[in-house]
Symmetry: C2
Subunit: 449 residues, 2 copies
């Protein structure tokens, strides 16, 4: 990553000095991914200057790597003919990644200006829903009939594949064009030229349809360690292929989604999204949180009389709730991640519950004793300290149960368990924490005064 | 994934009926990843029965796919000779994944029982630190001198590579065995046999050393869309290669780590870890949380007199703190994830800060008005409602600043920003939430009564 930093500095200096020729030479030898990393941190005017120094092929590769927000601003600053010429140089699935981010009108204008064949290919891909295998796939692949020999297959590849198109599987189809297997390219190299392809193809091949969710595609790649996933129609006729580098992007997206939804943030928010776009989702969760906090407050309201009598209760009250909060967050985080990775199933639910209850008891007793000691040293009331300790252990136990069961229950109802965000789950321990502590204190009030 | 469910059911039925022969036939046609998924949900006795029906090669593949905890129990239940025979059939890097999880004594016994050559290969890999490229790499690769022709290279591959060993890059070395480039296998297929390898190899190739952190390896694969990363020594001599399927596992591990550390859980905890192992980390964060909660409580303690005078304050107090909590969590989650993905750099810090402050003001005003209305309807005190609204907006603003700056500051000090877990950051808004609300109320107390 140090190289990128050095590249970034050189680019800044050359841009500031206006030495465009020297800059063009530097960019020519750089990797598109590194250039795009530099582009995103520049002012828009400098972005455009730098971008115009790239040859169309490299410019396309840089565009394909940019974050949505940066891409949008840059394309807006360039003119449409310029953009269309760059897109003409890119593989159709990469063009899709760029065009799908643009406002509809601008996208249509640019597609009109592009070469007809490429434009049509792109528009076909754009018809598949976002987040589906169809939207992700490349319609370019190499396929041969299962009856040809290795030598014939190699001959076919030489004729049809351009040297630039990376491919690692040769697809094998029967006489009706149905996908029947694949041959990893390295097997082509090691096989005898006269061997029939049929003899070296894999048995069955995992494929998906254009409607398959991209998450399912990612799980397939992870589980079976394949480098490409073929996309087929209802008759198992090959339509395209999804390669592992696109799948890695999906894995990142899904991880971001899981992390952010759990915290009450839209799953695809990035640091540079405009506030206007982010506002509704952020506000929604803040309002939900206001609702749950008000619910917890109403529990306190029930005990207003006790607090009036003994204001010290108000001092310790948030500690019990806060400890329940971390208890649920820790448990639910491990459970939600376990569900996402397929490790948390109903078969292991009982074992997980036993683990969490043991942890709740052990850490609850330990922290309960510490809290009792702190409160005794502070206020000198042994009964109050006891009540605090007991309420804390109780709340930790509740946290273990709620943190395990709520995500599993949501999953059973086919709701994304990440939605069981901290906001929702901690409501239980807030409400019960206030209730158990203040309730116990009220019951024993006459001994506390 | 439906197929796995069906496979699991058939296996359960056949195990229960004791039809081992039928079961063996079923397992023979199944994928190792699917079998391992089924194994983990079985009782240990059944796991062993099923496992002994697998041929050694498939048994090895299943072992390599199992979670640490399940693996440990299963290996303990089998005898060492049995395990060593299975490991003999596995590629050395997969053996490492199994052996590194076992207790030291058992691991040594098993390595002693293995074939000498394989055992030595494995022990060499085990000398590299956990989480490094050395521990992750396979020492098997195909390399040719840059002066050979494509035909000669293919001849060399035919002789040296077994058909089972998947490989997608041919490594190219100079006369001193230094790595100078790679040739993706598909290029070998399309090139003329008389072409010198030198002419079709890539320019420079990104490589790592045995000490490189696995996270850096993953970033390299993501950034440059490569399928394998070569591992070299200080003199650029090739030692091994890391393939993309191992990198995908690393990406998952890292995402889990980010998610869990943020919630105060050890980054590698899985749902089935024994409570004993998990206890120290869980307890540590619960104790830290107890400390920060006590800090917040001590702020309330400063205003005990005001609460004694007006117990209603205690009812609304947690709402202001809770709203600050969701504010910091939302902001910090997006920022921490942005840092992990390389999108959040100091160049964009100012823009992100403006975004977050705008969001804090807009959502703060909206939720502040709602809270003021709720409290007015509940208690009928217009001044109290005003104080609540103002304290809430103030706390949301603080949340925006803290949620952005704390992770960035930690990163500047080279501390993992995910450690800036909710526990730490929300302390700020807890303390300030209580302080601003109770402070304002105390200042204006005589108008409140």
């Amino acid at each position: 990553m140090e190289e990128t930093t050095r590249l970034a500095e050189s680019i800044r200096e050359l841009l500031a000095a206006g030495r465009e020729e020297r800059l063009a030479a530097l960019l020519d030898g750089a990797h598109a991914a590194d250039i795009s990393q530099v582009v995103r941190d520049l002012e828009i005017g400098e972005q455009v200057r730098l971008f115009r120094l790239l040859d169309p092929q490299q410019a396309g590769a840089v565009l394909a790597e940019l974050d949505d927000q940066v891409l949008l601003e840059l394309v807006r600053a360039l003119d449409e003919t310029e953009v269309s010429k760059i897109l003409d140089q890119m593989p159709p699935d990469d063009v899709v990644e760029v065009v799908e981010e643009l406002p509809k009108e601008q996208a249509e204008k640019i597609l009109d200006l592009m070469e007809e064949e490429k434009s049509e290919e792109v528009q076909e891909l754009l018809e598949y829903g976002e987040g589906t295998a169809g939207r992700l796939m490349s319609p370019r692949f190499v396929a041969v009939n299962e009856h040809v020999t290795v030598a014939q297959a190699i001959e076919h590849i030489r004729k049809s594949a351009s040297a630039e198109d990376a491919f690692y599987y040769l697809y094998v189809v029967d006489d009706h064009e149905h996908l029947v297997g694949v041959v990893p390219v390295h097997r082509l190299v090691t096989a005898e030229p006269t061997t029939p392809i049929r003899a070296i193809r894999t048995g069955d091949v995992e494929s998906v349809t254009v409607d398959t969710d991209q998450e399912a595609v990612a799980r397939l790649v992870e589980r079976y360690d394949v480098l490409e996933v073929p996309v087929v129609d209802a008759n198992r006729r090959l339509l395209g292929r999804i390669s592992v580098d696109d799948v890695i992007d999906v894995i990142h997206e899904e991880a971001t989604e899981d992390i952010q939804q759990f915290a009450g943030v839209a799953g695809d928010e990035t640091v540079l999204d405009p506030p206007r776009e982010v506002f509704p989702r952020r506000l929604m969760w803040r309002l939900i949180n206001l609702g749950t906090a008000t619910l917890a407050a109403s529990v306190i309201g029930l005990f207003e009389g006790s607090i009036q009598t003994l204001a010290t209760l108000a001092v310790f009250m948030p500690i019990v709730a806060s400890m329940g909060g971390i208890g649920t967050t820790q448990t639910a985080t491990v459970v939600v991640r376990g569900i996402a990775l397929g490790e948390m199933t109903r078969h292991v639910l009982a074992r997980v519950m036993v683990k969490e209850v043991k942890l709740a008891l052990s850490t609850g007793l330990a922290t309960g004793c510490v809290l009792a000691l702190i409160s005794y040293l502070w206020k000198g009331q042994i009964l109050l300290s006891l009540i605090l300790g007991i309420a804390l252990v109780f709340n930790m136990l509740l946290a273990a149960v709620v943190g395990t069961l709520v995500p599993m229950a949501l999953r059973a109802f086919r709701i994304d368990p990440a939605i069981a965000s901290s906001v929702i789950i901690t409501t239980f321990t807030d409400v019960c924490g206030f209730f158990s502590f203040l309730g116990l204190a009220t019951l024993l009030m006459r001994f506390l005064l």
